[in-house]
Every structure is written in C-alpha cells, then in structure tokens.
C-alpha cells in the first residue's frame, strides 16, 4: 500500500490532489479484489472439475473391473480312470527311430488324447462331491469352463503315470457360473432369461456353500491368451507380448532416429528455406490422425513390402512413424532450451561442433529426451486405430514368439472384449484390461519422472 501511495503521490498531476487519488484507488480496490477472487475461484473450479472427471473415470473403471480379478474356481479331486483314458503307452523314441517318425507317432498319440472325453472325469469328480445331484452331465459341464478339460489332459500327457491315480485340481468355473455366483445377471430373473439351467444354478450354489467353489485371484488373466470357446479362461498374455514387441521396435527405431534427426536439424543443419519446410512438415506430421498412419502402414508394409498381417513388426513400424514427429519436436525444444553461452564457451575453448554437441549440449538434454521418448512410447502403447487397419484386431489364441508372429495388442484386446457377445462376463473383463493398460501407462510415466529427477540431480 505504501509503495502504491508513494508512486501515486509522486506522479500526481496538478489537476487532482493526492487525497482524491487515494479515494479513487480505494474505490476501485473492491472491484479489483472481486476480480481476483473470481479468477481464483474459476481456476479452482476448473481444477476440481478436471480432477472430478478423472475421479469418475477411475471410479467407474475400477468399480466395473475389480470384480474380474476375482474369479470362481472349483477344487476337485480328479481320478484318472483307466476305463475312460483308453490310450496306449505314450510313445518313446526307440533307438534307430528317425526323429520325424517319432514326432509323427507322438502327434498321433497326442491327437488321440485330445479326442478323449475328459469331461467324464470331471463329471465323476463332481458327483462324488455332491452325491445327491440329479442333473445330467450337461449341467455339470455348464458350470466348469470348457478349457479346463485340456488342463487335465495336459497334466496327463505330460505325466502318463497319473493313470489310475487321483490328483487335486483347482479349475476355473465357467463364465456363466461366475456371472450367476457374482450376481452379474439378476438372480431373480425367470429360467428363460438365465444362461444356466435351474439344476446347474443349484449345483453352483451348493458347491459354493460346501467351499468347493471359492473366489480366488484370477492369475490366468495375466498368463492365458484370449479365448472365445472358453470365456472364463480368456487372458491378456498374447496381447501383452504383442504390445511388448511393438514397444521394443518403437524404442529401437523411433528413439535413435528421432534424436539423431533433432540433433542434426537443431545443431548442424543450415537455416534455409529447405530446413524451414522440413520443420513445418514435421510439425504437421505430429498432428496427422493416427488412423492415417495405419492406412499408410497397410499400403506400404503389407501390400508393398509383403510383411505379414497382424504382426507386431508391422504394428511397431507404423507406431514408429507415428511417434517420430513427437520425439523430434520434444528433443528439439529441449536442445533449444540449452543456454547459448554453453555452446559459445565450448566453441571458444576450441571444441569442434560435434564435440560441442555430444560432450556438452546433449548430456544436459538427456532428461528432456528421455521424457520425450517415454511419453512417445506411452502414447504408442495406447494407440488402437492404426492397428485395426493392419489386421491386429484378429482373434489370436497364441502367445507370439517373435515379432513376425500374429498377435494382438493391449488396447486392441480391450476393443475386442468390448465387442464380445457375452456382455455379462466381458464387461468386467474389458474394464480389467483397461486397469492393466492404465497401470502400465502410469508406471511408464512414473519411470520417466524418476529417471528425469535422477538425471537432473546428477547434472
């Protein structure tokens, strides 16, 4: 106030006295404070609104998705009945037998094992637990996920000595049983609108009461691949590996190329019309919608270079193209932020331009470049649209073993589960996949922040 007074009196003209000026200022003070309070209030409202939307999003996703991490699992003792498992000995490679001959023989044996009715073993086990159950085999099959018969088969084919023995298994309940027990489908609806028959529903309730069905952490959500024939066992492993391969390709290609182009354009390239055009083009490319890169990828990598459909390699290349402008722009701006005095000092002490850039300028920009790279990669990780155009939205039930194999990706998996016709079950699954993807994004960003603060300290 004192400061204000002194300036007003000092510059007070001849027309108005100091007292009048003070009055005028005092009168306007109320309005000025009001304005300040208003903007302050607006700012807080904006922040609260933004946080509120984020909170609603997180609440919604968590509330829908968290139940999917717990899944109904049935504990059963399976007796490997020699009457049902009517197979010969597992073939052993005899001396002198060619490997091709042996693998044909082994495949024949495995195929015969696959065609056995493993559900009969499960039926017997369930009937031993609930002897008074009178429903038919179909009701029992309906509450256990259809993929679980292969769990039993695999246990047997890898250890044929189980024949005639009993072993405990923890098996997944079917999606319908899981829905029923969790109450996802209104339990009061009549039979005609339920997915399970009345007998099967009673059996599921009975098993839950006896403690043979319990809700356990759904670890297979992370270890299994997608599945349509056995929805309860659908998992994210295939999509995760697909995304991982793509991210590796993006890191290996986009980061070095992007940083090198930025360094060249910023430090070495002459400033002329051509570099101006290049700069504008890069800025424009950063704003190109991602689906356009998908179309480009389909035309160039698949139709021209004849790379395979649905391969993470192609996805990685497309995402590289999409991420490059982001990395170049961010790297350039962090290079530009380096004080010119540093460059001049280095040059003044006799360093060459290359020495100046690589010894003095680049090390300072590492935090910025790193942040740019991680944000670019995180953006690529969540990208869906371009992947749809290169066939990555296919149903793939394999874990890809190389970037050339067909695969899905995490965001595409979310899209696929969102479209699954078993809405009651996959609604929660979709949100669970979103939680996993968001978790990955947040940890990537956390790594970026951690590395940046460490690098900045070292500097």
């Amino acid at each position: 106030m004192a400061n204000l007074d002194s300036t007003t009196t000092a510059s007070a003209g001849t027309a108005v006295t100091a007292e009048e000026r003070r009055q005028r200022v005092k009168k306007s003070l109320g309005a000025r404070h009001r304005k300040e309070r208003l903007f302050h209030g607006l700012g807080i409202t904006a922040v609260v609104l933004a946080l509120g939307f984020v909170a609603i999003l997180f609440y919604d996703v968590l509330q829908r998705g968290l139940p999917a991490f717990q899944q109904a699992q049935v504990t059963v003792d399976v007796y490997f009945d020699p009457e049902v498992i009517d197979l010969g000995e597992r073939p052993v490679q005899s001396p002198g037998q060619s490997p091709a001959d042996y693998s044909a023989q082994l495949n024949g044996w495995l195929r015969a094992a696959a065609l056995l009715n493993w559900n009969r073993l499960l039926e017997t086990s369930i009937r031993t637990i609930v002897p008074e159950f009178e429903g038919d085999a179909r009701d029992i099959a309906a509450i256990i996920d259809s993929s679980q018969r292969f769990v039993i088969r695999d246990a047997f084919t890898s250890d044929p000595s189980l024949l005639g023995q009993t072993r405990e298994f923890s098996l997944l309940a079917s999606a319908d049983a899981d829905n029923w027990l969790k109450g996802t489908i209104d339990r009061s609806l009549p039979d005609a609108r339920q997915q399970l028959s009345a007998d099967a529903r009673a059996l599921a309730d009975d098993l839950l009461e006896r403690g043979e069905i319990r809700f356990a952490f759904a670890s297979h959500l992370f270890t299994n691949v997608d599945s349509r024939s056995a929805p309860a066992s659908a998992g994210l492993a295939g999509a995760f590996m697909g995304s991982l391969y793509m991210m590796l390709i993006v890191i290996v290609l986009a980061v070095p190329i992007g940083v090198a182009s930025a360094v060249y354009l910023e430090e070495f390239a002459p400033k002329n019309r051509l570099t101006d055009v290049i700069e504008i083009t890069i800025n424009n490319l950063a704003a190109v919608p991602s689906i356009v890169f998908g179309l480009l990828g389909a035309a160039v990598f698949i139709n021209y270079f004849r790379l395979p459909l649905s391969a993470p390699l192609v996805g990685g290349l497309v995402l590289t193209l999409m991420t490059l402008p982001t990395i170049i722009i961010a790297t350039r701006s962090s290079l530009r932020a380096v004080a010119p005095s540093l460059r001049q000092a280095a040059l003044g002490l006799g360093a060459s331009r290359t020495q100046m850039v690589f010894h003095h300028v680049l090390p300072i920009t590492y935090p910025g470049i790193l942040t740019a790279a991680i944000i670019g990669v995180a953006q690529a990780l969540g990208e869906t649209a371009p992947l749809l155009l290169i066939g990555m939205n296919a149903f793939v039930a394999n874990i890809p073993s190389s970037p050339m194999d067909q695969a899905s990706a995490l965001p595409v998996q979310i899209y696929l589960w969102q479209g699954n016709e078993n809405r009651n079950f996959f609604e929660a699954r979709t949100s669970a996949a979103i939680i996993v993807l968001l978790g990955l994004m947040l940890s990537l960003n956390a790594i970026a922040i951690f590395l940046r603060s460490r690098l900045e300290k070292r500097k």
């Binding site: 495995l110 070095p256 459909l309 149903f395 793939v396 039930a397 970037p403």
Partner: protein
Amino acid sequence: MNALKISVAALVASTTFAGFAVAQSRDTIQIAGSSTVLPFASIVAEEFSAAFPDFGTPVVGSGGSSGGLRQFCEGVGENTIDIANSSRRIRAGEVEACNTAGVEDIREIQIGYDGIVFATSADQGDFALEPQHVFMAIAAQVPQDGEMVANPYTNWSEIDASLPDQAIALAIPASNHGTREVFEERVVLPGCEAAELPEMSEEEMEAACLAFRQDVVVEIAGDYTETLARLQSNPATVGVFGLSFYDQNRDTLKVATVSGVEPSLETIASGDYPVSRPLFFYVKGEHIGVIPGIEEYVQFFLSDQMAGAGGALEAAGMIPAPAEETAAVLEAFEGGESLTVESLGAE
C-alpha cells in the same frame, strides 16, 4: 556417437527383420470376414489347436462378409488370407474379382444356419411382427390409397393396433454386414410385397422397397454390441441381432416373434422361423498344401463335435445343417470342386 551407433544398429536390425519376413513362411491359417461367423470360427480355431498340436492356432479377423471377401480376393500369397468367413453367399462379381487377382480355386463350405431376430430391451412391450409391419416402419414411402406417400407413421401402434404404443426406432445392420442382405431379402421384400405397392416397373418397385427413411432407422456398421448400446441409450429401439447374440444376452433383451413364430434353434432348423440364412466360409484352393493345416481345419470344422448336432457350435448358437448336407459339402471340398461365375449364375 552413441545415438548414431544405435541408429545404425536399428537400421541393420530392421533390414534383417524384413529379409526374415520374405524367407520365413507363414505356418498358421489366416481367416477374416463376417462378424457373425467370427465367434464360431474362433471356437473351432481354439479347439483345432487343442486337437492338432502340430498346427498353430488359426488367426481369425473380422471386417464383415464383404470386407473379408475383398481381402480374400486380393490375390494369392502368404500375406493374403486363406479363408474368408461370410454370412451370405459370394457374389458373381466377387468371384470375378478373385479370378482377376489370380484366385481361381475358390472352395465353398457351408457350415450351418443362423437366425436373425428382432429384439428390444427386456422392459419394453411385446412385439409380434409381420414382415409388412417392418416394411411400413422403415420404408421412406408407403402406399396409401394406391399412391406412394412419404412415410407418415411415428408409432408402432399406428401401423397395427396389435403392436405396442411405442415410437418407431430401428437399429439395422449396415451394408458391410451379410446380415443386411438377409434382412432385406427375408423381411423387407416380403413385407413390401404384402404391402401391395401401386403398379410400377420392377426396378422402381425394388428401389421403393429398399429405400429406408433416415430419421428413425440407424444403420450399425460395427458389431452387435453397438446395436445393444443403441437399445440402452434409446430403450424404444428395436434392434436386429443374430440369434446367438440374443441367446447370450437374454437377461437384457426380449425377442419379437416374426409371422407368429418365436426364433429358437428348433424353429430355425425346421424352417418355421422365416428369417434365417446359411453361413459360409470360402477356402483359397491355391493355399492348400502351402499353408499347413487348411484341409484338416475344414474337416475339423465340419466334424460332428464342432458343426454337427450337439457339437460345440450348436452350444454357441449356430444352427447345424442336416448331416447329409454337411457330408456333401465335405465331399465337394475334398473332391476339389471350385466355384466359378457360371456355377453361381446357374442358381
């Protein structure tokens, strides 16, 4: 210099990748097409890999029947798909396109039937639809006193007193879906005929029958979950679904009868329910023997435990074809019978 070294390494790596791509041959079957067939094909793909440990799991993409057949007809080679799923028969024009691109040996496999149902949200009124009702609801122009006038109906009960007093809103599949063709052929055209349009030439008649009003009709290009979302945002909407989708969402959907028949596996298999269609897939003969497992996949698909009565696909909502029909299809496939423009024209 590090960045430079890395980028050189990356370039080398990417070229080796590309070289590898040409050298390595694909060993899994690649499938694309109809979203109606997709769940069935995916189930078979999974079971196939469980039963045949020596082959990889086939990869099944979507894109609609037309989209799948377009990809199918792009040519021969490892980066083209081997099998196209379709919820309608291939058209003569598509066979021509295939032949031009070098795909000469197209094997047609009919796998079974699917029913198309009209469904509303479970809390809405009961619909007992006749094809004529549907036509009167969606046509741009309807006949009135022997003249074609702009469609005046806004409420189902105005069309027929037996229908609920509910605003007209329909979500139908867009033209990329094979379902659309069946919807037009089995519902709209018969309804149009029953509505007795005034005298006009055949082309004009077909155009008048298939001109839909845009204000109450939403065309869904995505899959059935999108249609379901429409029903949830506007509960008055009547949506067109596949029987299997309805079957898995019976808790939220209520089905309408068509011509007095309720859709079910039985009524569709017996032919009583009028709106059903055969489902197909098309195999690229040129790829048999090049991509391993195609023949086995087809045989496995048509086997009793998959497409047969009581098989895995029936449980998922597909209506099995009679056993003799399936046997004939398999015989034709194994005999190497391929589809030509003429054989399509003959029917």
